[in-house]
Amino acid sequence: MAETVTSKNLALAKAINESLRRALEADPKVLIMGEDVGKLGGVFRVTDGLQKDFGESRVIDTPLAESGIVGTAIGLALRGYRPVVEIQFDGFVFPAYDQIVTQLAKMHARSLGKVKLPVVVRIPYGGGIGAVEHHSESPEALFAHVSGLKIVSPSNASDAYWMMQQAIQSDDPVIFFEPKRRYWDKGEVNFEAIPGPLHKAQVVREGTDLTLVAYGPMVKLCQEVAAAAAEEGKNLEVLDLRSVSPMDFDAIQTSVEKTRRLVVVHEAPVFFGSGAEIAARITERCFYHLEAPVLRVGGYHAPYPPARLEEEYLPGLDRVLDAVDRALAY
């Protein structure tokens, strides 16, 4: 049966699980590490069943210490392994931030290219699941500011599967942000597809009046926004960036030269967020094409609020439509 299946309809979390399984099968140097990733299969079950099939020496339940997880993963990578580590939640990554920023990101450069650290750091991120404090954050900009790291975030099951394959094959450290509120969203995954380059954006809806740019959990929202706007006769283009660093500015530029208007949407706070970088660069590249300033919709400069308020804090359909209206009003 398994041989004939070339495509499956999978939840995003299950697509990552299948991708990790394939990597473990293909390369004996691939390891899975993290808190509760073994017997339990991770708090989101992303690694479900992997320890059972690949053993405790390849799917490793670690002590509860994030710096230790990333620090030992670096050591294992120095020994020739390709660790895929899980940080249980976005807000728990900061004990490992020093190892990621100071060690993981810089080792290739400071060794003059002699040392490669093919480590993938998986981080379930973002809000929308009614979680308690420190379980709903979007810290991608805090990593994008650091050279030496690559940062990606899939928005759908197929990308989750293939981007994980590519992240594990990358000789650079990759921070893999998983949109946890989309873990249960299903999509078709073709296991024999030939994936596009990891860091290329993808137009997921063509349009002519305005470009919506997003990645991870906000892509689905932007597609909903575009559908709602279409009912009002507005024809929006939606671009799924997929990669935050490097970022496919060429794709944004191409789209904006066509639509002349750009709204960037992310859950992370707007201030110093990736939208700020996009706005600056697109202003440089498309100054004479733009009919309106680049607008941003995102979180506020405030701690992520208690769950009962998160819908107020997160970009939603109406807030994005409001930004679209403002951009179109210029």
Binding site: S57, S67, G71, L76, D98, L112, G113, K116, D172
Partner: protein
């Protein structure tokens, strides 16, 4: 509850003292700690005499077969390391290096442990392990690149199984632990050694590396050079217990060794490495030593410590100690010392010349090796930088410089 805990604490107080003030308790505790300063493993006294007793026997057997030639080798290593270190300090004073972190006083700890290693073992150093680097065969001149500011690490770590110097304190202990976990997975019988200091012992990463190595039974030796000072802070500011005792809480052995006794450091490290190879997991070695110099060339120890302390440690000098032993044992003659002196001077000269000849890196090195697989933004910024630089070349070629008939 309260009564019980009071009763439990009573015997620790000195006899006759009443339920004292907080101040009294503090004094008592400090005194008790000082008088209870633990013994350390020592095989050579400061006077160069071999120590033989039951306590040391377990370790002494690891150097039972050391030949006079090997002893002379250890002496040579320490002398050349000190000479190299002095040359680097001088080069900093001459403006050839931006900074230097001297290992003066720590030669025995580094040479003793470094010579205990096999080629297939792997070393994770701090930024002061010049003696260990020497043992690993890293070209001393290569160590100076980062201190001169021409690179951030000038050697191939896998060339000598000697990782790059780590500057952020304690981080490398986790790398060593992970590497050792990999060694165990590979079924190899190599061992890993992580160097760190008394200051690093306060870092969370060191605590986490103890936890991980214990849990996974990783073949790693934690070699702590307690040189008594973390820049200006004495060890008392880092710990209330002798550092080697921390191992007990993690479930692996710790031992304090005389860090100025090269033979004891060799023996204890061999013992610890053997444990690692035999699948017995991690060991903590605390080499009790002294930083004779400043923290770095930017530091001024006169602001925080007394000369008397340094003088007391001078009497325990690691090189002098072995020399006394060699001479008393008739293992050396004047020719040996004269040859070594000449070799030292040659090393100093070679290092000096190598550093002065070290070119500044090409400006485009900024963009090199940021990523293994490349990155669009780095490419874009490199091109912008090149265009900016080229704009000057165009001006000078077409204008002022061309007309000036320069060389």
């Amino acid at each position: 509850m309260t009564v019980e805990s009071t009763a439990a604490r009573k015997p620790r107080r000195s006899a006759g003292s009443k339920a004292g003030t907080t101040g009294t308790e503090r004094t008592t505790r400090t005194t008790a700690r000082k008088s209870a300063e633990p013994e350390l493993v020592q095989l050579l006294t400061p006077e160069g005499k071999r120590v033989k007793n039951a306590k040391n026997a377990e370790y002494a057997k690891y150097v039972a077969g050391v030949t006079p030639e090997e002893l002379r080798g250890l002496y040579r290593d320490m002398v050349l390391t000190r000479r190299f270190d002095a040359e680097a300090t001088a080069l900093q004073r001459q403006g050839e290096l931006g900074l230097w972190a001297s290992l003066l006083g720590q030669e025995a700890a580094q040479i003793g442990s470094g010579r205990a290693l096999r080629d297939d073992d792997y070393v994770f150093p701090t930024y002061r392990e010049h003696g260990v680097a020497w043992c690993r065969g890293v070209d001393p001149a290569n160590l100076l690149g980062m201190f001169r500011g021409v690179n951030n690490g000038g050697w191939d770590p896998n060339g000598n199984n000697f990782h790059l110097y780590t500057i952020v304190i304690g981080s490398q202990t986790l790398h060593a632990t992970g590497y050792a976990m990999g060694v165990a997975k590979d079924g190899a019988d190599s061992a890993v050694i992580a160097y760190f200091g008394d200051g690093a012992s306060s870092q969370g990463d060191v605590a986490e590396s103890f936890t991980f190595s214990a849990v996974y039974n990783a073949p790693v030796v934690f070699f702590c050079q307690n040189n008594q000072w973390a820049i200006s802070e004495p060890t008392e500011k880092q710990t209330r217990v002798p550092l080697y005792q921390r191992a007990q809480g993690y479930g692996f052995p710790g031992v304090r060794v005389d860090g100025n006794d090269v033979l004891a450091c060799l023996a204890v490290t061999r013992w610890a490495l053997d444990r690692a190879r035999d699948g017995e997991g991690p060991t903590l070695v605390e080499a009790y030593t002294y930083r004779m110099g400043a923290h770095t060339t930017s530091d001024d120890p006169t602001k925080y410590r007394a000369d008397e302390e340094r003088e007391a440690w001078e009497a325990k000098d690691p090189i002098l100690r072995l020399r006394r032993h060699l001479e008393a044992s008739n293992h050396t003659d004047e020719g040996f010392f004269a040859e070594l002196e000449a070799e030292s001077e040659a090393l100093g000269r070679r290092v000096r010349e190598a550093v002065r000849a070290m070119p500044d890196p090409d400006r485009f090195a900024i963009f090199e090796n940021v990523y293994a697989d490349g990155h669009a933004l780095v490419d874009e910024e490199r091109a912008q930088f090149a265009a900016y630089q080229a704009s000057f070349a165009t001006e000078s070629e077409s204008g002022f410089v061309a007309g000036s008939g320069g060389n």
